[in-house]
Homo-oligomer: 341 residues x 2
Amino acid sequence: MIDVCLLGTGGMMPLPYRWLTSLMLRYNGRSILLDCGEGTQIAMKKKGWSPNPIDVMLFTHYHADHISGLPGMLLSMGNSERTEPVLMVGPKGLERVVSALRVIAAELPFEIQYKELTEAEETFDLPGDKDFHITAFRVNHRVTCYGYSFVLDRAGKFDAGRAQALNIPVRCWNQLQRGEAVTRGIAAAAAQGRNGKGKEQTPVSMQEIYLPEGASENEILWTPEDVMGPARKGLKLTYCTDSRPTESIVRNAEGADLFICEGMYGEEDKEGKAREKKHMTFLEAAEIGRKAQPGQMWLTHYSPSEMHPENYIPAAQKVFPRLYPGKDGKTTVLNFTEEDS
Amino acid sequence: MIDVCLLGTGGMMPLPYRWLTSLMLRYNGRSILLDCGEGTQIAMKKKGWSPNPIDVMLFTHYHADHISGLPGMLLSMGNSERTEPVLMVGPKGLERVVSALRVIAAELPFEIQYKELTEAEETFDLPGDKDFHITAFRVNHRVTCYGYSFVLDRAGKFDAGRAQALNIPVRCWNQLQRGEAVTRGIAAAAAQGRNGKGKEQTPVSMQEIYLPEGASENEILWTPEDVMGPARKGLKLTYCTDSRPTESIVRNAEGADLFICEGMYGEEDKEGKAREKKHMTFLEAAEIGRKAQPGQMWLTHYSPSEMHPENYIPAAQKVFPRLYPGKDGKTTVLNFTEEDS
């Protein structure tokens, strides 16, 4: 499950009725923030989500409307007494830009770690989380800019009948479900009581079954493959702003349950302006949706001149019907499909 | 006349229902902004005032809640095609801090000029405006911090009877009212027609009266003192945040028509916390009001924990009755007193 909130939908400058484009994801107790323009921390508070558990901040690029809210956000995180490090990810120059902005946010009670993107496409995991994968892919803006895809894996279905047939202690099932192998030593401890501190069984029977004399404690008895079915469809979310349409966006948005994409201008006749400013019209974004076929697609990063983006949605939906207008605070929960839960 | 708008009243961090403390002044087509935290440009748009004509930005100090909105504000000023230079005033370090923040606002179509404050108290005028005086005075915060007073002079009353008695051409009256002397050359041109291009009079009579043969065009005929009464009471506004109470604040707020002062905490028992954080309670601020006796006083820079500042106003009004709670967007017009207009 991934909680998704599009905190704002504006481009260029914050408006009284529209926060700057920013996305927040929450899963497994982690929070991830994508872009942080002026006012993002206010939008987050308005939503009722906290900046404190943000582990990772990703930046598409360093135009002010995507990073100007960073000093205030960092100070608010500090004021909420966060001490865990924060990982920042963004194009080359990240540490230089963040360090400059920190002239007004020098004292923080937590460490900032940097990952600067250098390749056209990079996939990486977050520390201590092998089920969640982030892919950064370069897009086409006036400065170096990246889109991001997030994939949350889903393990295969656990086969309890098979586990019983293999005589695996119930206390070891969870470990196998988590994707970890079970050794003789672990099995013996589990049979004797969790970590050997539970109710004692007769040492003889335990040793006979799981740890006979001369056997190694480290020998692997069962692996997840013994009891887990094939991996099931996970969840995927793709986020891209600011860019002209590119093949890399289409390819990375393929298979996404939710694809959030910039749409700077609603009017068809603004394609020239979109081309000049290295942005997209709604129709150009819809065309990416038509090619990539995500589960659904939200537009965001509207021009300040675009007072009523919803007026231009019907035309874009003719190109890709599952396209919807992003709105400030628009929220959804991406759930694993029910049928095989 | 000075238009005054307290754009926000928050301290420390912006909240969904409270912008960060910032003040905007408008007079004679000029705009002045004091402090510019995250979201100030949104508060300004909400008020319907434009960032484009801001000539001067003054900073009390460089904690993020007083300057984090600067990069976005500068970009919005640039987007509105401003080309005139902007003067920035603040404590030592101003150029270093602004230059660092401009890592995300590098390209601007206008020049930034800097005036760094070094004295405990400095009075200066704005270029081309000898009637408006700004005094910066050092206060007492965790970092170097200044308060500001603004004085708009008011000339004496024009004596039309005296001008007629002196035989001054009506076309020269405005020049004298503006505080400028009138020379023989100007008087002759005025009598002949504005800039010599108006309806012609007989050159002989004009020369006889104002520019007889052998006289110098540059000889001063009349000075403002000939026709203007003594200077009348002008307007004064004083702004001070963040600080402990100081004698300098009292002295500088004396005679102010409006005194805007920080009040971080409403609760009396937070005086210890105020002392520690180098802020003030409402009662401490009210005590400054009682001593300085401004026309009226507004509190601002409330702690984020202060949900209902208005609850603590009655107690503060017992100390200084003309004290009122600042509110986001609170506006007034300081007018010259009517009786001698």
